[in-house]
């Protein structure tokens, strides 16, 4: 039977009068946009709105004036320093690890194990991670005690685990695996022919990294470092569990402003700080996207 002999089939295949058949393919993305709307756009709108309102409900930029306060400026600086250090160290160590992994067999057990492990560890944070560090490197942690019994006192100059240095170390625990995950695709895009072409043209290892692999990977490396920075900058739970006193970093300052036990909570001020954080992360992520786009057609 052909379609021509079947009116039912013919009419089903014919477009509706006046143009194209309506498509329902957009239905598939509705859950995604709903999710983004409820968990990203709506909270952002609440933060933007709340940051511009005074307790009496009038529009004002007064909430932003508090950002200039010295202790708040210090929290900003600490957040940026911790994020930058953990991003740079995480990026270098993660990149080396990713390089070691991608130079092995593409479907080898080492690669599969490391990539799976990185996928899990990159998401490992918060109270669990903090507790793991306290249980191992804390003042009664078994690693600390073990080292102490062998004459190594890592806290000889004071306990730094509950300080910025400790927080940076804990952040590295998820920053390094994240770097492995996001940088491995760029390394995979490096073709062995480029190395061999460099050799045949008279170049050595230095020339290859200086003129070929380095320039090809650098934008992606920089982009991934920015991603790690944003990841650390926006982290909250790990720091909250580790640091019980003082707003060392910005998310903790926001927490104190929202949940003051002395009745002096300042939600408008907290939202102004949150908006400042959003702007910083937005700038960083825009740079990350631009850098990734630059290398996309090189390393595909």
């Amino acid at each position: 039977m052909t379609a021509a002999s079947s009116p039912a089939l013919s009419s089903a295949a014919r477009p509706l009068e006046g143009g194209r058949r309506p498509t329902l393919s957009w239905v598939g993305v509705v859950p995604f946009f709903l999710y983004v709307g409820v968990f990203l756009l709506l909270p952002t709108a609440i933060i933007v709105g709340g940051s511009l309102l005074t307790p009496s409900g009038s529009l004002s930029f007064a909430n932003f004036e508090g950002i200039n306060k010295p202790y708040m400026f210090k929290a900003f600086a600490s957040s940026i320093a911790i994020s930058a250090v953990s991003a740079v160290v995480g990026a270098f160590v993660g990149a080396l690890l990713a390089y070691a992994v991608v130079t092995g067999k593409p479907d080898g057990i080492l690669r599969r194990t490391v990539m799976s492990g990185a996928g899990v560890l990159a998401q490992f944070g918060g109270v669990t991670l903090t507790f793991a560090f306290i249980a191992t490197l804390g003042t009664v942690g078994f690693v600390y005690v073990f080292l102490l019994q062998h004459g190594i006192d890592i806290y000889a100059r004071g306990v730094w685990l509950y300080d910025q240095a400790g927080l940076t170390l804990i952040y590295l625990y998820f920053q390094i695996p994240l770097m492995v995950l996001v940088f491995a695709p760029a390394l995979d895009g490096i073709r062995p022919q480029w190395r061999e072409a460099t050799d045949s043209l008279g170049g050595g290892t230095w020339h290859y990294w200086r003129y070929i692999a380095g320039p090809l990977l650098f934008p992606s490396f920089l982009g991934c470092t920015l991603l790690l920075f944003a990841n650390a900058f926006s982290a909250y739970a790990t720091a909250s569990a580790l640091l019980t006193q003082g707003g060392v970093i910005l998310p903790l300052q926001i927490q104190f402003l929202l949940t003051s036990e002395t009745g002096s909570s300042q939600p408008g001020y907290a939202k102004a700080l949150a908006l400042a954080m959003i702007v910083i992360v937005l700038v960083v992520m825009t740079l990350y996207t631009l850098l990734q786009r630059r290398t996309a057609h090189w390393l595909r």
Binding site: R191, Q193, W194, E196, A197, T198, D199, S200, L201, G202, G203, G204, H207, Y211, I212, P215, L216, H297, W298, L299
Partner: protein, 365 residues
Amino acid sequence: MTATGSSEGRAGVEVRLEHLTRKYATTTALDRLTLTLAPGELVALLGPSGCGKTTALRLLAGLEEADSGRVIIAGKDVTNVPANRRNIGMVFQAYSLFPHMSARQNVEFGMQLQHVGPAERRERATEVLDLVGLAAHANKFAHQLSGGQQQRVALARALAIKPKVLLLDEPLSALDAKVRARLRDEIRRVQLEVGITTLFVTHDQEEALAIADRVGVMQSGHLEQLGPPTEIYSRPATPFVAEFVGLTNRIKGEVHGGTVDVRGTRIPLVDPDVDDGPATALVRPEAVTLASNGEMEDGPLVGTVIAIAFLGAMSRVTVDLGDTIVLAQMATSAASQTPAGTKVRLTLRPDPVLIQREQPAATAP
């Protein structure tokens, strides 16, 4: 267009591979390969995947180390010289252009490594890009060039360093048929113009036969036959060469005194010094012709046309003889006289053929 700049000081040199052996774990990729390329000659290594042709090229390039044997270029033993000091130009299968550099920068890169001054680099890059017909695309990046253009830039890049030897590792395999044929001719033109000794590796028999001065057919790490394309095609030295290069009919017959009786037709053997007995004759389709289309009695070479493949001026006719299928190649005008379903009688031209004997079945010890 000029070749003076690119061929300057670069007359072809002799290249010798002597007893080269390369093993990977338990597999022998190359087994005592010996091959000499005359100055300015283009030799194509042809064979199926895993035959060792690419390994031979990589050993010559210095990208891999031989387990034994020697590589001699222009009389110098370079077996232990690293790849970056052999002065060999190489064109890879695909995707070898540096993607963050323009075509000109790619071409200049090798000269930059040789510490050639910027002005001279620029001048020579223009010359070689002109040589491959891409001077107008000098500032384009790889992703802005077609596959064929990219391979021409790769050729220009390889030639820009004034190499002693040019190696082409399946440079056309990633291209579509039309571009492949055009670029193949382009490579040959440039190679002749520059006069560089060239080793071309391919699995495409048509490509090898069309471009090379001599073709080496490889199997399992061995060179089965080395000779001019016409000799490889018309006088294959082994059954493997006969079957790998061109199409071959396998027709059962009986060997008697240096000839083989194939379905009533006596055909001389390439190597008549063989024992009598059953054998399979390897007959080229062009050695099979069709007799006139009329009333005919049944016979061992009478069959029915079941398909005709149009190849342009020539056509390939498939004839079913009942117990076997035979291909005949002839002028399209002749093939059109015998459409599918026509009963035809085949004639086998008495060109010398190779035979193949069935291997005796292995027995348990």
